[in-house]
Assembly symmetry: none
Homo-oligomer: 207 residues x 4
DNA sequence: GATGAATGAGGTTTCATTCAT
DNA sequence: TATGAATGAAACCTCATTCAT
């Protein structure tokens, strides 16, 4: 049974990866430590050398992925100068691309499923992710509204709308599995989303 | 414990209601048959008189709520004539109002969490809800694109965008619990969503 | 598997009896819930209908036997009048007889083995059994010392000596199993113990 | 952690000492090899270089302490001549002092707790310690009974009584922890015990 | 000799499900 | 129809033991 000939320094990452996989596939409650260990190519007991327990493993998985989320928040201030719509399409493409990476999709799935049982994660997103999004995106929108490029709308709500448009494709195409029924290219999605959003908030006379 | 109805005809509905509640609060795996029975004011064994088992109960809950979802799909053809944006705001208000009803919120939560374990439900939404939305909404959009009122966009993707904007508020405000952090009136949400969407797809010269 | 046709009101007593048996035979840690359930003629899960867990079961066992211990404390005040030694022999016989009942022996064994892990039990005996013994026995001794029937000794220590003489026979004969090596009749033990003790504390001149 | 000796020759003794400590504190089943290794300032694996396993370690601990017990048996023949009671008080003091040494107390505790799981130890005490005590003490008592100094009693039972009086103070004061509730000086205990015992067995007219 | 990472058997506990009443 | 006592499978977690380094 000696197939554990990988460096022990990689163990935690290896376990986290396997755990994300199994949690996404089976859900937290249905996932067994044996499943996860098997997926990682080790045995049950070894997981407990690196993580306190199942719940802590889940938390570690979520925390390890949190950085990715935060890094996804578009650096919108780059858009203040230059061709807004073209740059936005670029930025939106990067964002959607990142969102649809398998690891991110799995994480979203896990978080959505277990949010109610993970008060820490709930708080994390309430108090970090959402405010960050506001600072980055809503701030940018507000600036343009103030100078008249964009129409006067609630910037927080508008920001949420933008995220919603991206998120729904993760939910429907990836998580619900609609990509088999209604395949869509990421390019078409990005074009449509940015098109609707920027035409939707642009001031008519300005264009 | 809760409600003292002794009418056996209402038992199934009574159980379904309790089950939706408990499933939403605890998640499928954490919910026990005792929890559900207690919430329904009966005892565990009784549930088995009306439902095959726990999984079947979950399915029954989801199916019982499915009709509500379908009924939510806006009857957009009503918009073909008349002041589109004003009617849309009206329709959007009804839609968001319905989405945010506690029972619907709970159902969305349950479905999101358990989607992976409910292939039947997955198929149901892939093969019924999404196509329905396409027929109802995308069809309406396509018609307007053809006559030039709306810009030429992928109608399916645009439809998804519209749903995404509504859905994100259910996710963040209700399920993630952001309503305590960033309270928003339903009116403001509807105004912003319909404003962005219709300005976003409208042909410039047309207004 | 339906051999559980005894009244459910007897379940707790039935489980306690089986648990005492298994705990005494195997020790707390080595005893499995399956062992206990098997001994009681039921299955594991049933135990949890009546007791919170293994530790609580042990506590319940000990508590259920506590009354027996307290009842064993000789009512010495009865000896104040009458032929002390003859009455004492009678009383000592009752006491030793009670101590050597299998249920009591088992309980002593369990308590000795698990005392360190049962702070509640430790406190119980420190704060109830010992003081009670002092009130009952040491009080009697003190009274006789004051009137000169008995020599002046520390009554608490003397009381402890008396108990020690009885207890050592439980420990060696029953628990250590010496009764096979050095069989002794209860009568001989009682005669010797009371003989030594009363001659030992009696005032010479008085007799 | 504890003591920084690096002499491999002391390893076994060092481990035995740590093991006695941990076994007494936690009980055999609750003690982990990690606990013991930590207490000895080494690591788990090292224990297996010197002992076969956990059970064998316990046996080694008990056996290593057995000599101490045997050495405790009072050399009573020294008492045949001279002032019996005064010499007995001296001897009893040494005996009780030895019994109450922490290492001995811990050993008694361990043996009492695990006796049922250590048939070897059980046999050891049945077949060595008890007979030895008989040879040493009961023989002495018998000799005095034969010459009339002591009353005619069963010498084996009387011996057991003497041990019981000493042992009860180890049990109650040290193991049950009663020394905080009813503190007693070793001197007072020894005086009382020897006083009761020798007055108890002495022939009246002799003194 | 010493280490500590890895293993996996075993035990407690939970809970969906059954069924006699 | 309704109950709730009983069941037993399944999962988390611990820890004695092994073994490559």
């Amino acid at each position: 049974m000696a197939k554990w000939r990988r460096c022990p320094e990689e163990r935690p990452a290896q376990i986290l990866e396997a755990a994300l996989d199994v949690f996404a596939r089976r859900g937290f409650a249905e996932a067994t430590m044996d499943d996860i260990a098997g997926e990682a190519g080790i045995t049950k007991g070894t997981i407990y050398l690196y993580f306190e327990g199942k719940r802590e493993l889940l938390l570690a998985v979520v925390r390890a992925q949190l950085g990715r989320f935060m890094a996804l928040l578009p650096r919108m201030h780059a858009l203040i100068t230059g061709d807004i719509e073209e740059n936005a399409r670029q930025l939106g493409g990067d964002f959607l691309g990142a969102l649809m990476e398998p690891e991110v999709t799995k994480t979203i799935q896990v978080i959505l499923a277990e949010l109610q049982h993970l008060p820490e994660v709930k708080r994390l997103y309430q108090e970090e992710a959402l405010p960050q999004a506001n600072v980055q995106v809503a701030g940018f929108l507000k600036a343009h509204m103030d100078v008249g490029t964009f129409r006067q709308l609630d910037p927080t709500i508008a920001t949420r709308c933008l995220f919603g448009m991206f998120m729904i494709f993760v939910l429907t195409q990836e998580i619900l599995g609609a990509s088999r029924i209604t395949p869509m290219s990421q390019e078409a999605i990005v074009d449509t989303v940015t098109g609707i959003f920027f035409h939707g908030i642009m001031n008519r006379g300005t264009a």
